[in-house]
């Protein structure tokens, strides 16, 4: 951040108001954070400088926010809730009966990124995803990176996500991760870091689009006062991207979206994207393979399919090859795929590249394949299969975050500073039993953004950012992404399955 104004009396008043709404007036932001934070470092606040001034790109919004009567904001929040319910923007909750659909809480305070920060992020994301695609192609072909000793071969080849079935299979354009969701966090120094790559079936983009729609509906005046980069064209870009990777020789490819069905937790997003792109939303039972080609059953007979945007995991795609008990997939799909008659996006076997045990090597991949130095760094990661890392981590468990290599969704992790002694000891035993199953990272003070907390007051809450990187003919990113927010005070877990919410994300054009 350059060009941030010095704390003025007015700005300090604003910051005061921001905290007073939570009845914490009179204490410095640092004190407030320290009392609740699991970490020592003061988090970076997206809207306010530590001295209390608004950051330059947030000044106009902060002024507007200050001018809003509390009742108006409360009313708008209720309106947003009612609308999300009526439109049915919900996610299904597993293992519960009828109508087990919940809203993901939406917060009306946007997360704003200035143009220059976004440009740097965008460049860094494109670089990273290019390297990841090159890596996946390499490990299913010549395996140069393994031969060069940059990544230990057994880390890749013995990984359960490595699919030997994909060896030697050529996919259009050499693109494997057509849609990548890269989770970005900002540390206490204000630096962006990649926390995680999602290269299998990343979700959340529908909330990015619906959140924007909601904000424009609730607060149109904000959009005439700010030049917010649009995101509405994401479905068009996605469709174009999917069509660009159709099998060679197909002039007018038919694209479908493959879902597990209405009971899947992300079903809303599947239906939404299919509708926005104007393509069929299919289930496994709607497709069949004949003569190594894929068809869908329609009211007018069988119709050829060229590209499958699948939203089910590898394991369920083809019961003849992967899980035989899967009812979600299409028998024979892999045969058609290996014959080059169908494109599957994302490709089969991308999971090996977003595995937490491979993540530490991504900066090396960027150097190896692109000959560039990484623009966005990783979070420092200890690999517990290494004895020296293991020793360090075991000695510092109360300060660190320990994650299961194959875990996802915020499950199977230990947040040292927030854990009890007993919890830490349980984890210590698990780590000692199978150290190779774990990695550890410093407990990051994720950046915070003002958020409507319980009781209707504004308070700082931790956030992350998931931009969606599309790779096909080109690599494209719709400006911004999905901002997730941990709604519980002090919590660092932003996953919707663990009480996280979302915000609209603005990239300012000027």
């Amino acid at each position: 951040m350059s060009a941030t104004p010095r704390a003025s009396a007015a700005a300090l008043r604003r910051l005061g108001a921001y905290y007073m709404m939570e009845s914490l007036a009179g204490r410095s932001p640092g004190q407030i954070y320290k009392s609740k934070e699991p970490v020592g470092a003061t988090p970076y606040d997206e809207m306010y400088l530590r001295e209390g001034a608004g950051r330059a790109h947030y000044l106009r919004y902060a002024q507007w926010l200050e001018d809003q009567p509390a009742e108006r904001l409360a009313h708008k929040r209720a309106e947003a809730d009612a609308l999300f319910h009526r439109v049915g923007i919900t996610f299904a909750v597993y293992g519960q009966e009828e109508g087990a659909e919940r809203l993901i809480p939406f917060d009306i305070v946007p997360r704003v990124l200035p143009r220059e920060e976004w440009i740097r992020l965008e460049t860094g994301l494109k670089q990273r995803v290019r390297a990841l695609n090159a890596f996946i192609h390499d490990i299913y072909h010549d395996q140069q990176i393994l031969k060069a000793g940059v990544i230990p071969a057994e880390q890749v080849l013995c990984n359960s996500q490595y699919r030997p079935e994909m060896q030697g299979v050529d996919v259009p354009g050499g693109i494997y991760a057509h849609i990548a969701g890269i989770d970005i966090v900002r540390d206490s120094s204000g630096e962006f870091k990649v926390l995680e790559d999602n290269l299998r079936v990343p979700s959340g983009v529908s909330y990015m689009l619906e959140n924007r729609k909601m904000m424009m509906r609730l607060f149109p005046e904000l959009f005439s006062a700010h030049r917010v980069a649009p995101v509405e064209h994401y479905p068009d870009v996605l469709l174009d991207n999917l069509r660009s990777v159709a099998p060679t020789g197909v002039a007018d490819p038919t694209v479908v979206l493959l879902t597990a069905g209405a009971h899947n937790s992300a079903y809303f997003e599947h239906a939404f994207l299919a509708q926005q792109m104007g393509i069929e939303l299919v289930e496994g039972q709607d497709l069949f393979v004949r003569d190594e080609a894929v068809f869908m059953r329609t009211t007018q007979g069988a119709q050829r399919v060229d590209v499958i945007y699948r939203r089910i995991d590898d394991d369920f795609l083809d019961p003849l090859v992967f899980r035989p008990d899967s009812m979600l997939g299409v028998p024979g799909l892999l045969t058609a795929y290996r014959a080059g008659r169908i494109t599957i996006a994302n490709a089969i076997g991308t999971g090996v590249a977003d595995d937490k045990s491979i993540y530490p090597y991504v900066p090396e991949m960027i150097r190896f394949y692109l000959g560039q130095s990484p623009i966005i760094g990783n979070v420092h990661t200890w690999m517990l299969r290494k004895p020296e890392d293991l020793a360090y981590v075991l000695a510092h468990l109360p300060e660190l975050v320990v994650k299961e290599v194959h875990g996802a969704g915020g499950y199977g992790m230990l947040i040292g500073p927030a854990a009890t002694k007993a919890e830490i000891e349980i984890f210590r035993h698990q780590i000692l039993a199978t150290p190779e199953r774990y990695i550890a990272q410093p407990t990051l003070a994720l950046s915070t953004c003002p958020t409507f907390a319980g009781g209707g007051g504004l308070a700082p809450r931790h956030i992350d950012l998931r931009p969606f990187v599309l790779s096909g003919r080109d690599v494209t990113i719709v400006p911004g992404g999905l901002t997730r927010v941990a709604l519980r005070e002090g919590s660092l877990v932003v996953n919707s399955s663990q009480g996280g919410g979302t915000k609209d994300t603005w990239v300012l054009e000027a």
Partner: protein
């Protein structure tokens, strides 16, 4: 379009139509229950109606006797009974949710809020839930759903399958209501004994035909004219002829390579109703006629399913 999508659309509209038909029946009987009138007549009518709709067995599992209030609650609000209005609204919404991408957002939101509101209503239901108000509301939601369908959907296959579902269900419902009241429609009833005007009003109101009858015939209510109106009038929206005409026309718009015989049968049903005379029906016997009609309708539904909705595996 996908066969599965067509199937969900078809059932979505059938369930909404069924919810409305049931709401009409409950409404008509409910009004009758408010009049100073023999409870026996009401119970008889309810019993005959439940039999025609294959609901009596499920009711008997819950209650010993036909008691109007219990019947109304059972048909309207029972969460466990798959044939209740509540269950129909749920099924309509579940089918819509499975293909929400193929619906206009207005149509999806209409069906979704109907379901959400119904759930709230049933959860809040007190001992004195106002059944009359509930069925009135269901009718309104059905009208709204139909209006949104016609007002917002592209006239493509999705629309035609939605309409086929609506009219097959409506034909089925009208035929069953007539079956339940066939004793009142015997030709002999015209002369001599004057039929119970309350029962007539139940039958006609259940089919939204009370005012229509007056308008069309400007005459006292006679069984033959009632049957004529509900079976053979082309301009009566819930008559068998009208429903068959709509099914046939929508079916023609979605014809595929294997559907010729199904289309022919739909055309035959339509032509038969179009050219037949009331006298012919009465000489065959109304019960026999209705029984045959329901059988033909069932075959037509099965054929539509196998031609379009759940085609046999091709792989």
């Amino acid at each position: 379009m996908l066969s599965r999508t067509a199937d969900h659309l078809y059932w979505m509209s059938r369930y909404i139509e069924r919810a409305e038909s049931l709401a009409r029946l409950v409404d008509a009987h409910y009004r009758m229950s408010l009049l100073p009138h023999s409870l026996d007549t009401l119970a008889l009518s309810l019993s005959a109606t439940m039999t025609a709709l294959h609901m009596e067995e499920a009711y008997r599992e819950r209650h010993q006797v036909i008691e109007p209030r219990a019947v109304f609650e059972f048909v309207s609000l029972d969460r466990e009974f798959s044939g209740s209005i509540f269950s129909c609204l749920r099924a309509a919404r579940e089918n819509a949710r499975a293909v929400r991408g193929s619906l206009t957002s207005e149509l999806w939101e209409t069906l979704n809020s109907t379901w959400l509101d119904a759930r709230t209503l049933v959860a809040r239901r007190s001992q004195n839930a106002d059944i009359g108000q509930f069925v009135e509301w269901v009718k309104e939601r059905s009208h709204l759903t139909r209006g949104v369908t016609i007002g917002t959907m592209l006239r493509d296959e999705a629309f035609h399958f939605t309409r086929i579902g609506t009219f097959l269900e409506r034909a089925d419902s009208t035929a069953r209501i007539l079956t339940a009241h066939q004793t009142d429609l015997k030709p002999g009833a015209d002369a001599g004994t004057v039929p119970d005007p309350f029962e007539w009003s139940v039958l006609l109101r259940a089919l939204s035909a009370f005012e229509v009858y007056r308008r069309v015939y400007r005459d006292v209510i006679t069984p033959v004219k009632v049957a004529q109106l509900l079976i053979l009038r082309d301009d009566m929206p819930r008559s068998l002829l009208r429903c068959c005409k709509e099914v046939y026309q929508n079916l023609k718009s979605v014809a595929n390579e294997q559907s010729a015989e199904t289309e022919r049968r739909a055309g035959e049903m339509h032509a038969m109703l179009h050219f037949t005379r009331m006298e012919d029906i009465l000489s065959t016997g109304l019960p026999e006629f209705l029984e045959q009609f329901l059988a033909n309708l069932r075959i037509l539904g099965d054929r539509i399913a196998s031609d379009f909705l759940v085609p046999p595996a091709e792989a």
